[in-house]
């Protein structure tokens, strides 16, 4: 079982993966807190689960499907759909480019 120590570098890396911008003092504060929390949750290692199946959900339901039809009552019109966005252009949401255009 691969587990590494929670270091400041690990916290900075995971913050980047989660799209959180942390200040140095936040990394300083969170590192020992997260280390303590992981120290606690690591106690699961002592439980023998070699023959145990995982439980991902507890609804007792499988493969719930529905008809592929559109319910007009559940559709927002364009004005409503865009209404909560801080920045729109030509009736569209504005997102940052993810592929550089050069």
């Amino acid at each position: 079982m691969v587990k590494t120590k929670i270091t400041k570098e690990a916290v900075a890396k995971v913050a980047k993966l989660a799209n959180l911008s942390l200040t140095d003092s936040e990394i300083e504060k969170f590192t020992p807190q997260l280390a303590e929390i992981f120290g606690y949750i690591n106690q699961l290692d002592e439980v023998d689960t070699a023959k145990t199946h995982p439980t991902a959900q507890v609804s007792n339901l499988n493969n719930v499907t529905r008809e592929d039809t559109i319910d007009e009552n559940q559709v927002l019109d364009q004005k409503e759909a865009l209404g909560q966005s801080a920045k729109t252009e030509k009736n569209m949401f504005v997102a940052k480019a993810v592929i550089a255009n050069d």
């Binding site: 989660a18 690591n42 439980v47 609804s59």
Partner: protein, 471 residues
């Protein structure tokens, strides 16, 4: 109508409305006046929909005048409600207690909000909570902590902090809440009201800000067990917009409350729950509960839930993993503010979850926790082969002082020990008041039953409440 020891229940209000002793307009005006008086101190409401509520009350009175039978079609007609600020309410600001959604006005309402509106309930406003429902004290709200109405130096519990405080202070006859690891039961316990967490899949999660999608349970806080049953009759049931809701029929819970408990009714007490339990108030509360059960002729049985001690560890892997994935959608593009608005607790949970789900760690953390979840569920399956219900404390201590645990996230997490396992296993649970301690703080207990047996849970809770409080 604001005397703490004489709370106005839904069934009292309905009886008065039907007998024309009071109008909906008067009820709404009374509650709004009380909210105006107390909310500055309690900080239970984040948004008050005073004008909308007054207009609806006026319309409701006109309807009653024309059609006195309206109450049979709409069983909560004219009854005020407040929603935890995680419940989407069309046109009414919904913040999730976070600055990220400080100005968010939902374009649609959640299923439970709609069902309650269709049953005639009138929304008075939106209730404070720990941001994104992350917390056990109410102190993680970005809009300031809610206070415990029984003692303003103490926390009301969380994350449904405003819901519990508002009902306890008689600012509402009932309030909605969400419970992912105890967020209805723990504040109910700290505030001395009834908190019902239905089984996973019993009540729709559609249109409610998601915390951890395999754990979130949608319930409510009320003054008594009868009201808890009356509201569940409305909110429970399959919803095509939430594929995890079950198609089981919804019993008329209120009609089943006073049925006698089955012969040889057994209540189990897990020996693992008593290990390390030292708080004298909590022990005294358990003793009061055992006495009441004995009076009811219930047999108390010692049971074992051997994986209890791993509940918090499994929960604090599964829950943050799901939190990190649910909160990934908040990018300010379609709605809301940027991710800079997340508070410390949300940041911690997003990072824990991102870490445990990241490449190379998934098996060691998330998969492991899902396997321990199987073991915890199996413990309960075995226990419910022996007993009808389980009695436990709701929290290891009564309400604590504001600020006492804020710098120690782990110790705050450990306070969830008696509540999280019900979420991991999908069980229904109810928190019930038993009395008060010398600091005037409420004490209580919790009952759990097998998944989808809310009628049994409420039946036991009703008799227990009647024995203890003579209601």
């Amino acid at each position: 109508m604001t005397k703490m020891d004489q709370p106005k229940t839904i069934h009292h209000l309905l009886a008065d409305l039907k007998a024309k002793k009071i109008s909906v307009t008067e009820i709404v005006a009374d509650y709004l006046a009380e909210i105006a008086k107390q909310n500055g101190e309690l900080n239970a409401f984040l948004t008050i929909a005073a004008e909308e509520a007054k207009a609806q009350a006026k319309a409701a009175d006109a309807t009653i005048a024309k059609d006195p039978a309206i109450f049979t079609q709409k069983p909560l007609f004219g009854i005020p409600v407040g929603h935890k600020d995680l419940f989407l309410t069309r046109g009414l600001k919904t913040t999730a207690g976070s600055k990220v959604l400080a100005n968010y006005i939902p374009q649609y309402s959640g299923t439970v909000v709609k069902k309650l509106e269709n049953a005639g309930a009138i929304t008075l406003g939106k209730l404070n909570c720990d941001a994104w429902a992350h917390g056990a004290s109410g102190e993680n709200s970005d809009f300031g902590p809610t206070k415990n109405p029984h003692n303003l130096d103490y926390v009301p519990g969380g994350s449904s902090s405003g819901s519990a405080a508002a009902v306890a202070a008689d600012l509402l006859p009932f309030a909605t809440g969400t419970d992912t690891g105890g967020s209805i039961r723990e504040p109910a316990n700290f505030c001395g009201v009834v908190g019902l967490k239905p089984s996973y899949g019993r009540v729709s999660r559609y249109g409610i800000v998601a915390m951890a999608s395999s754990l979130d349970s949608i319930g409510h806080l009320t003054h008594d067990v009868h009201d808890a049953a009356a509201v569940l009759e409305i909110t429970a049931g399959k919803d095509p917009f939430d594929a995890t809701t079950v198609a089981l029929p919804v019993p008329r819970y209120t009609k089943l409350l006073d049925q006698p408990l089955g012969k040889n009714f057994k209540v189990g007490i897990a020996k693992e729950y008593l290990e390390g339990l030292t708080d004298p108030d909590v022990l005294a509360s358990l003793a009061v509960a055992k006495e009441a059960l004995a009076e009811l002729g219930v047999e108390l049985v010692e049971i074992s839930l051997p994986h209890t001690k791993y509940g918090i560890a499994a929960y604090y892997i599964v829950q943050p993993a799901e939190v990190s994935s649910n909160l990934a959608r908040y990018d300010s593009i379609r709605y809301g503010n940027t991710r800079a608005g997340f508070g410390d607790e949300a940041k911690r949970r997003i990072m824990i979850g991102t870490y445990t789900l990241s490449a190379g760690y998934y098996d060691a953390y998330y998969l492991k926790a899902m396997k321990v979840r199987t073991l915890i569920r199996r413990d309960f399956d075995q226990a419910f082969g022996q007993v009808d219900a389980i009695l436990s404390p709701t929290s290891p201590t009564p309400a604590f002082k504001l600020g006492q645990n804020t710098n120690d996230p782990l110790s705050m997490y450990l306070a969830d020990i008696y509540t999280v396992t019900a979420n991991l296993a999908g069980l229904p649970g109810i928190a019930l008041p038993t009395g008060k301690n010398k600091n005037n703080l409420p004490l209580g207990i919790q009952f759990l039953t097998a998944q989808y047996t809310e009628e049994k849970l409420l039946n036991l809770a009703y008799h227990f409440e009647k024995t203890l409080h003579g209601k």
